[in-house]
């Protein structure tokens, strides 16, 4: 085959190097090429170019691509979807329908003790099922959704997040206490930090375009974590991730990690001017690669332990919440947001009412957590023994500007019961304060309390022990005391009185010792 023109030859050669010529055509062209040095050279060039182009380097895989994409998709869908899956008039019914999973975990402990025994014994499967059922029914809602980047930045700097636009309520975390961390939910205190925007931050710190992209991604990852860290069930329960108080430092450190020294200096000035809680601890340092920064932002695991507070009790349990499906559900009910602050305020008021009646106070042995409240603010104190979030080394790029008072500085005022069911791998804790139990026994008769202590053989077999102060009492030994409910209540009361007397005597002795000698 002899091409009629040079162009035809070039076209044929182009097809030939791509293997697009038929067998016959290819053989004929090869014969021609062998007789034409120009064609041979052109073929050699084409092959060399092909080889050259195939050596083009591929871009490395970027970590966090899906995370960023998914958050963009979420935002987009949120903007577009604003329709309820049911007639709007049924919204209040839907929201209030169904038993609340958090309440199942906690409220039932007070109200239906015998069924709680069974419930607790079946453990996490039922907890999980209840959570899932209620998530689907819309009873459990995240405390935060539609958080924007400005709000995430505000949280990183000051640890504050508004609950909604309708009320003056917010969530505030503080890890600057000397020992431990606090989470306050409720009315904003006077003099709360003024809003900060990402634009202001960019203007003053002057990140490059690439750094800005990393900062946006960090804020998006932070938003995801925040939206998965706190939930509420109308005015009946609040569940909060105990790691939240440390997360704002993680965020701020992650932002600082992508900056050059000069930008970190600007950031420090930015923080100082706004009286932020943190200051830059490492002004010098090379920016970290984005992948490492993204990896350092811990995301809520599917099966996370939450502090669950109801007006009646406190639980500390693994809650597996399918936040993605929950968020999808929420996108269809955009108007639930205005109710968040109202519901949380209602919860705090209910909590405060009970708190006065019961002198509510909780204390966990291994994870010291205490909940206090007045009519405006609910405070969760987490003792220093809590070590849920292991800080990566670079978190120390920022440090608290000042130390606050001790968060958990004294033991609880009243002894409390601590129960632990199940084995080491599937334990379920809950806690009732003794006052609460005794008040109920006094009101409803000892039988109501006795039901609780009657002693399910399954618990006895597992060696369930009741703790009163530092003393442990085997459940079965309690049951054996006289075998009657009032006897148990009497013995409990006696133990408490003795315990309290002992504490008072020790306190008096200490006071006398401290008095100066005349």
């Amino acid at each position: 085959m002899k091409p009629r023109t040079r162009q035809e030859l070039s076209e044929l050669l182009s097809l030939y190097v791509d293997g697009e010529l038929g067998e016959q055509q290819a053989r004929e062209l090869e014969e021609y090429i062998a007789s034409d040095p120009e064609a041979t050279k052109e073929l050699r060039d084409l092959r060399a170019m092909k080889r050259l182009l195939t050596t083009k380097k591929r871009l490395p895989e970027a970590l966090g691509f899906w995370t960023r994409l998914s958050s963009q998709l979420d935002r987009k869908v949120r903007e577009e979807e604003n329709l309820l899956p049911f007639p709007r008039k049924y919204l209040p019914i839907v929201v209030s329908t169904g038993a609340l999973a958090l309440v199942v975990v906690a409220l039932l402990i007070i109200q239906q003790r015998s069924s709680v025994m069974e419930y607790v014994n079946r453990q996490s499967e039922r907890v999980q099922k209840a959570v899932e059922d209620n998530v689907l029914k819309g009873s459990i809602l995240p405390l935060f959704s539609n958080v924007d980047r400005n709000q995430v930045l505000q949280f990183a700097l000051f640890g504050t997040l508004p609950l909604d636009s309708k009320t003056e309520s917010s969530l505030r975390v503080d890890e600057t206490a000397e020992r431990g961390y606090t989470i306050d939910v409720g009315k904003k205190p006077a003099g709360e930090a003024p809003p900060v925007t990402v634009d202001e931050f960019v203007q003053e710190v002057k990140p490059t375009r690439a750094q800005r992209q990393v900062i946006d991604s960090v804020l998006d990852l932070g938003r995801q974590r925040i939206e998965r860290s706190a939930f509420f069930a109308e005015d009946r329960a609040i569940a909060i991730d105990p790691n939240l108080p440390q997360f704002n430092r993680v965020m701020l450190s992650s932002i600082a990690a992508c900056l050059e020294s000069v930008q970190r200096l600007r950031l420090q000035k930015f923080l100082e001017v706004r009286k932020a809680r943190y200051t830059i601890g490492q002004l010098r340092g090379r920016p970290e690669p984005p992948e490492r920064i993204y990896r350092g932002i811990p995301q809520t695991r599917r099966n996370e332990r939450f502090i669950v507070v109801t007006p009646d009790t406190l639980a500390f349990s693994h809650l597996e919440i399918d936040v993605d499906s929950l968020q999808r559900h929420l996108r269809r009910m955009a108007e639930y947001r205005p109710h968040v602050g109202v519901n949380v305020d209602g919860f705090i008021r209910r909590f405060a009412e009970r708190e006065v009646a019961m002198k509510k106070q909780f204390y966990f042995d291994m994870d010291p957590i205490r909940v206090l409240g007045d009519t405006d603010v609910l405070t969760i104190q987490i003792g220093a023994a809590w070590e849920g979030l292991q800080p990566a080394p670079r978190e120390w790029i920022v440090k608290p500007a000042a130390r606050g008072p001790r968060a958990v500085s004294h033991p609880p005022r009243v002894p409390s019961f601590n129960f632990r069911f199940g084995g080491s791998d599937s334990s379920f804790y809950f806690n009732l304060d003794l006052d609460s139990l005794l008040i109920r026994m006094q009101k409803e008769g000892p039988e109501a309390g006795f039901e609780f202590f009657k002693g399910d053989p399954r618990f006895r077999d597992r060696g369930l022990r009741v703790r009163i102060g530092k003393d442990f009492i085997e459940m079965d030994s309690l049951v054996k005391v006289g075998g009657r409910a009032h006897a148990i209540v009497d013995s409990l009361m006696k133990m408490m009185q003795e315990k309290n007397r002992g504490v008072r005597e020790r306190q008096n002795r200490k006071k006398n010792d401290d008095l100066p000698e005349r």
Partner: protein, 200 residues
């Protein structure tokens, strides 16, 4: 936990599914299926955009836009072409739009280069390139190609698509693909002449 392992199992199960199955699942409300598609193609989409656009900073943003567009349109996907050619089409169009939007003009048109006999580029290309220089050389050469030809070459030589697949991505006849590739190669051969001569 049982449910956690179930999730992992679902993930594993999705990973093994074909594009068609994943799309069907997505169209039936399984959002995770889209995540698997993204994981499967994000690298290729990013490299395709980078090859056309040659601006590393913009690649990530553009790739995200490509997948957002795909997410929005996937519900209407009718399986008339393969998913990846459909996705490539979105990526190519996105890169082209961006090129137009930024009104990027080639400073050196090929004709100007050939007519003026750009000695500086010629002398640069005459040097045997080391590894990173090879990359620069490829980038410079591709950048000199008109966008239509560049896309065809990238799809063929770098992404390894067949003529039919390229025609599907570019929504044109196979003859057009052949013609664009031939013309692109003719230009490249002129541009890379010093390099090619050095090698012989």
């Amino acid at each position: 936990m049982a449910s956690q392992s179930l999730v992992q199992e679902v993930d594993r199960a999705l990973d093994g599914k074909s594009d068609e199955v994943l799309i069907t699942l997505f169209q039936n409300g399984e959002r995770d299926a889209f995540r698997v598609l993204v994981q499967r193609y994000q690298g290729r989409v990013k490299n395709l955009i980078y090859s056309i656009f040659h601006e590393a900073d913009a690649v990530d943003d553009l790739s995200q836009e490509v997948f957002i567009k795909a997410y929005e349109a996937l519900a209407q996907f009718r399986f008339q072409s393969s998913f990846f050619t459909w996705l490539y089409r979105i990526a190519v169009n996105k890169a082209r739009d961006e090129l137009r939007r930024r009104k990027i003009r080639r400073i050196l048109s090929l004709q100007a280069l050939i007519e003026s006999g750009d000695h500086e580029l010629g002398s640069r290309l005459a040097i045997e390139p080391r590894d990173n220089e090879t990359q620069e050389l490829i980038t410079s050469a591709l950048r000199l190609l008109p966008e239509k030809f560049r896309v065809a070459v990238v799809l063929k030589e770098i992404e390894g698509l067949s003529y039919e697949e390229i025609a599907d991505v570019l929504q044109c006849e196979i003859g057009t693909v052949k013609s664009r590739l031939f013309r692109a190669r003719a230009i490249l051969r002129k541009v890379l002449k010093p390099y090619l001569e050095e090698r012989t």
